[in-house]
């Protein structure tokens, strides 16, 4: 697993309070070496923000050829793609179905590695109107909002690897599409062999986690690395919810997929208990950690993680899927102030989560309109 970069640099672009106009025309001097990148980019955040704007908001889809390597593995819970041609085609299809899609960059958390690669975790809010047919079904002509995290490895001006997660269940709730119906439809899409191998390998890897190992967090051993590993181990692997106070501020805000919004310890505890109860033997691994500082007391942490276990349905419509493999690829952005989380945004694709379970079961489930 990659470790975080210990040296923190607060001269790198911070998105939070910046007007878009300034983000698109930075006047600061170059802050990072960015070997092999175009000279115009002053740091990795600038690179990510500006290429995203050019490709998506200016609709220069062909720029993917410039900013993605020819072979670029893209991992999502819904499928795997490998070459830039697929990136271009998928981007075009999405823009056609959602022509006014805007990508609002909320944050970019990054890490510089010794091999001149940069890891960026880009938190995006998109507003888009579904005027065309899409993987979700026929056009709904409704406008929706969705949170996405794109984790990218960038090297010499190109994205060479990507993990993409989107809160699709929140989006379809606004479009008036039922979550289980969407999952049944997604389950009919047959993923390629690389996806199937990755899915099986990842499931097995996460299952081997030693979930009983105690990773206590104290004031004396506090570091970002210890903090996030203790957070994952204590809350997700060991389900010790009274320890939330060790990790979260008492009014921490907590956004999880599908419209789960909580504030404070009691509500966060409820959200996690209800979610984990559908996979009570869930184990989590942290697969990447990046951290940047915001100010003297505040840091932002980006986590990419995986959860694996056995599905125990709470929904009557999925009751027959009990015992199937439950696997999630997720990303979390944490804002930590004075060593406590004050804001968490966690993103994963619930539609693909259930679609994969349905597909693996080999069962044919009825849609709502079919009498489910």
């Amino acid at each position: 697993m990659n470790m975080m970069k210990s040296e923190l640099n607060n001269k790198i672009t911070q998105v939070h309070w910046q007007p878009l106009k300034k983000l698109l025309a930075p006047e600061e001097d170059k802050q990072q070496a960015l070997i092999g990148f175009d000279d115009e980019f002053i740091d990795i955040v600038d690179y990510i923000i500006r290429i995203t704007h050019r490709i998506w908001e200016q609709k220069n889809i062909g720029l993917c050829y410039q900013y993605y390597s020819d072979i670029c593995p893209v991992f999502t819970l819904g499928g795997y793609s490998e070459c830039v041609e697929e990136v271009v085609q998928n981007t075009l299809k999405t823009i056609a179905a959602f022509p006014d899609r805007s990508l609002i960059g909320e944050n970019v958390i990054w890490k510089e590695d010794k091999d001149n690669t940069y890891y960026s975790s880009h938190l995006i809010t998109s507003i888009m109107t579904n005027t065309g047919n899409s993987d979700f079904g026929l056009a709904t002509n409704k406008t929706g909002r969705v949170t996405t995290v794109a984790d990218c490895v960038c090297f010499e001006n190109k994205i060479i690897k990507e993990w993409l997660v989107r809160d699709n269940s929140f989006l379809i709730a606004q479009l008036g599409i039922d979550l289980i119906d969407a999952a049944i439809n997604f389950a009919k899409l047959i993923p390629n062999n690389t996806f199937n191998t990755w899915y099986a390998d990842e499931y097995n890897r996460v299952q081997q986690t030693d979930h009983r190992l105690a990773l206590p967090l104290t004031k004396l051993n506090w570091s970002v690395d210890n903090f996030v590993h203790s957070w994952a181990q204590t809350i997700f692997n060991q389900k010790q919810f009274s320890t939330l106070i060790d990790f979260y501020h008492v009014v921490a805000s907590h956004q999880w997929p599908g419209g789960r919004k909580s504030t404070g310890l009691a509500q966060i505890s409820g959200t996690l208990i209800q979610w984990l109860a559908q996979c009570p033997n869930a184990k989590i691994t942290l697969d990447h950690i990046a951290v940047v500082n915001v100010d003297e007391t505040t840091i932002d942490i980006a986590l990419r993680w995986s959860v694996a276990g056995t599905y125990t349905p709470h929904t009557a419509r999925l009751a027959m899927l009990k015992g199937n493999r439950f696997f999630v690829l997720g990303c979390t952005h944490l804002r930590v102030k004075n060593q406590k989380i004050i804001k968490e945004v966690t993103v994963f694709d619930e539609i693909s989560l259930y679609a994969n379970i349905i597909r693996e079961s080999g069962m044919s489930l009825p849609l709502l309109q079919e009498g489910a």
């Binding site: 008492v250 404070g264 208990i273």
Partner: protein, 290 residues
């Protein structure tokens, strides 16, 4: 920043307020969150159509770093009806990152001469909200946020606000007598006339009894020493039970308190009742005013 908001509603000045809005700013109103200029301007246009170009007849502010609150009463001189709005802002004195606007939609319905049902139908679709059940009890070793956890205030003010929060979270109703001035002026959204604290106490009792297993959660606070005002963004989660059916609901509230000589002399309790009805498909009224 406050003036820019006032100019929007009194003169329709969208440009000036737009200059304080970022590409990544959000504006929550009627439990719908608009992101970015396109969606935010659409909300403004609707508000201007409904109650724009009106006169400010009352303004109460809590000006502070990072978070601020403003309460406005706007009079439509043609109909002689007013509407009340509360705003809770996250800002850096240049830009607004996040704004939560709560409109008294019951008053707005009166202003527009609409029934609550008609008004509810006109509100935007609310954000999807998936509320999880949780343990709402205050166990001996569990910790629940108090005002002192999130806002720096002088000790005497902190004590009063702590007692104020204890009424809501601990249902400690004796505190009314110790922290409110006997002539305190109370504005509760949905009520036509100014109330006193006895009416607020009665209202809160009805609310607690209506929303079962309820839990009050602080979100953010701000304190303005100069004005003697405090703004609190908070919400109540609980079960709304009707005909044995249980609906988990969340009621967002902005409270604005004004203190004088260590007593609360004025309070606004701002809730968008009709947005709440729309969000959870509830009948109006949720709490009877009588």
């Amino acid at each position: 920043m406050f003036n820019k908001l006032i100019e929007l509603y009194s003169r329709g000045d969208m440009d000036t307020l737009s200059s304080s809005i970022l590409h990544s700013s959000s504006w929550k109103q009627h439990d719908f969150t608009a992101f970015g200029n396109m969606q935010i301007e659409k909300l403004w246009l609707k508000s201007l159509e409904q109650f724009g170009f009106s006169t400010v007849i009352k303004k109460q502010i809590v000006a502070a770093e990072q978070f601020s609150t403003i309460y406005l009463e706007l009079l439509n001189e043609q109909t002689n009806q007013d509407v009340a709005l509360s705003f809770f802002l996250e800002h850096n004195n240049i830009h607004i990152k996040r704004i939560h606007c709560i409109v008294d939609t019951v008053k707005l319905a009166h202003l527009l001469n609409k029934t609550p049902t008609q008004m509810i139908a006109e509100l935007p679709s609310p954000d999807p909200l998936l509320l999880s059940q949780f343990d709402h009890q205050k166990h001996p070793q569990s910790y629940h946020a108090t005002p002192a956890d999130i806002c720096n205030m002088p000790k005497k003010i902190e004590h009063i606000i702590g007692q104020w929060w204890s009424i809501l979270q601990d249902k400690q109703f004796t505190n009314f007598e110790t922290i409110y001035h006997k002539d305190a002026e109370i504005n509760i959204a949905g009520f036509d006339t100014k109330q006193n604290y006895a009416a607020l106490r009665k209202f809160q009792l009805k609310l607690h009894n209506r929303i079962n297993r309820n839990y009050c959660q602080l979100e953010q606070m701000c304190f303005d020493e100069k004005q003697g005002t405090v703004g609190i963004l908070w919400h109540m989660d609980g079960d709304y039970i009707e005909s044995d059916a249980v609906k988990r609901v969340r009621i967002p509230v902005i409270s604005l308190l004004r203190l004088n000589e260590e007593l609360i002399v004025e309070e606004t309790f701002q809730v968008d009742w009709l947005a709440l009805c729309r969000s959870f498909n509830l009948p109006y009224p949720i709490v009877c005013t009588a």
